[in-house]
């Protein structure tokens, strides 16, 4: 066993080394390395089946890795059973004990550790204040709403002061308004406790709202691991660009450092010859009528298209246009005045600034 570095509080709290899990027929998680820093709020984001839940369960101890190691705070916990790990989890569906009251649920972990009664009472009160459930102590679990139940589950885990708090799709079961409110709550609690949170989600908006760092997974592999701004602005693959935020994708060929898109537009871009994909975010594109309209200066990449339809969404308008080859692109524009001029079926000019485009090698 590795000797614990006693005098130094490890900044790198969790280290996954070559961690992998396979079942009889398939590999759920390919060998991956990941490190989680103390105080982070990490999101593991990906579509269903990408292995994120399996990964979370390996960290919490409920799934035995097929290979690799997990280090928490300098100790190898790969074979440690869940009840002895310093992690605690908020489960999907919350898993509250139906025969216990709210206070009893929250106190359970301390009860197991034979904490003295007075201390239990005090810490339960603190935990309930933290999640703002003050008067609910004696309520029975069956009477709670979704949001309340989740807060109980949170309190129950946090009261044990785990080194890592794991959350499995924490906001999935909540309706929209509640979800927004809980996002705020989670952020507040994270700051208040200064703990290290890791949560798993398929909702990219949630990931962006909560996380200090996002780890994107697809088919059992980590495809990008960075802060939200970077992932959004510089996705490394087609998958990441479409999974996080909306993306317009156009295919073209690069020859001699010039990309040809849609047989219409040529853009200088250094790189190897071959097929490429050009990605631009909808809010970074501009639109204007073909006749009598002009795109702002600086918008040097331009294409012609036909307006399919537009939707007024309050603070912006969503335009859907069709290129000559039938491909559809989406442009989000805050200029509400253009809408009067543009009718469905009208010819338009669309464009973007070269610095806003992301060029990806095709196949990534």
């Amino acid at each position: 066993m590795l000797k614990r570095a006693d005098t130094v509080v490890l900044q790198q709290l969790v280290k996954l080394e070559g961690l992998t899990k396979s079942y009889a027929k398939a590999v759920a998680v390919h060998p991956l390395d990941l490190s989680i820093q103390r105080g982070e709020f990490l999101a593991i984001l990906g579509p269903s089946g990408c292995g994120k839940t399996t990964l979370l369960k390996m960290i919490s101890g409920f799934v035995h890795p097929t290979g690799g190691a997990i280090w928490i705070n300098g100790q190898d916990v790969t074979t440690v059973s869940p009840e002895r790990r310093s992690t605690n989890m908020v489960f999907q569906g919350y898993g509250l004990f139906p025969h216990m009251s709210v206070a009893q649920n929250i106190a359970y972990g301390l009860h197991i550790r034979k904490t003295p009664r007075a201390e239990i009472e005090q810490r339960v009160r603190e935990a309930m204040d933290l999640v703002q459930l003050g008067e609910f102590a004696d309520r029975s679990v069956g009477q709670l709403s979704g949001g309340q139940a989740q807060r109980v589950a949170l309190a129950r885990a946090l009261i044990l002061r785990p080194e890592v708090l794991l959350l499995d799709e924490p906001l999935a079961a909540l309706d929209l308004k509640l979800r927004k409110a809980m996002q705020e709550e989670l952020r507040r609690i994270h700051l208040a406790t200064g703990g290290t949170f890791v949560f798993v989600t398929h909702d990219q908006e949630e990931a962006m709202a909560l996380a200090t760092r996002i780890c994107v997974m697809d088919h059992g592999r980590v495809v990008q691991d960075d802060v939200p701004e970077e992932i959004y602005a510089h996705p490394k693959s087609r998958f990441v660009s479409t999974f996080i935020g909306d993306a317009n994708l156009m295919e073209g060929q690069r020859k001699r450092n010039i990309i040809c898109l849609e047989n219409e537009l040529e853009i200088p871009h250094k790189g190897p010859d071959g097929n490429v994909v050009c990605m631009i975010r909808p809010e970074r594109m501009e639109i204007a009528p073909l006749d009598g309209g002009k795109l702002p200066s600086g918008v040097t990449a331009q294409l012609t298209a036909r307006l399919d339809h537009s939707v007024f969404l309050g603070s912006y308008v969503k335009y859907v246009v069709r290129l000559n080859d039938g491909r559809r692109l989406r442009i989000d524009s805050r200029d509400l005045s253009i809408r009067q001029v543009l009718t469905d079926g009208a010819q338009v000019r669309i464009g973007w600034r070269l610095e806003d485009q992301i060029v990806l090698a095709d196949g990534s």
Partner: protein
Amino acid sequence: MMPFTRLRALMLAPSSAIFAVLFMMPLGYFFVLSFWRVRAYRLRPDATITQYLAVFRDYSKPMVFTFILAFTIAVVTTLVAFGYSYFCRFKAGRHGTLFVFVAVLTLFGGYLAKIYMWKIILGSSGILNTALIWLGIIDKPITVFLFSPIAVLITLVHYTLPLAILPIYGALRGVEDTPLQAARDLGAHPTRVLFDIVMPQIRLGMISSFSMTFIFCAGDYVTPLLLGGPHTSMIGIFIQSQFGLRVNAPLGAAMSFSVIALCLMLIAVVGLAVIRIFRARP
């Protein structure tokens, strides 16, 4: 929810009639009967507790023996039923329902037939002894298997097991997996999870199984008669004999109600104990 209309009352009429005329009234009559006397082989209506006194005066030994044996059988059956149901729910995966199905199927198949078969299996030259001798585990047949309380125990555990599995398995199906994982995550090892989280949720199922088995065994007649031997006098035999040659219905009635009353009291005690032991703490 819908109101209680005349139509509903009509629909419930036949079964209520059966319940009233064929159960409540006989029960009531039987209860009244227990306060009557028999003189010169004739029933004499009366209002006396002579019969009940007779029960506790003359039949206290068989009563005590019956209750001890019935209690033991009920405990064994409930424990085995719990283990089996636990297996079906948590350890058997997708074969769980198949195992339950097989168990419940053996519910049918003849009360007498099963008693008869155990008599054959447990006898001195029966299958069990023959097998044990053949395997070399013993030299001479073990006679205590048959015509003893052990025979009654084995037979009745066998007979009541399928019935005991049903309520417990039903209750276990209502126990969800996520709270169990949560308990482990919070630091409880598997045994602790069983005691703290699973058992409190299935208390009523366990009590139900225990009660059914206990009452059935306390009132059984055929098994002790055919398999019990001379030292196993259970109260059921005496009850039956009041309606056979002896013809002392009031005494039989008093015995029956005594048995039921004592059963219920014992079940209440056991039930309350179980509820208290498996409750949420602190």
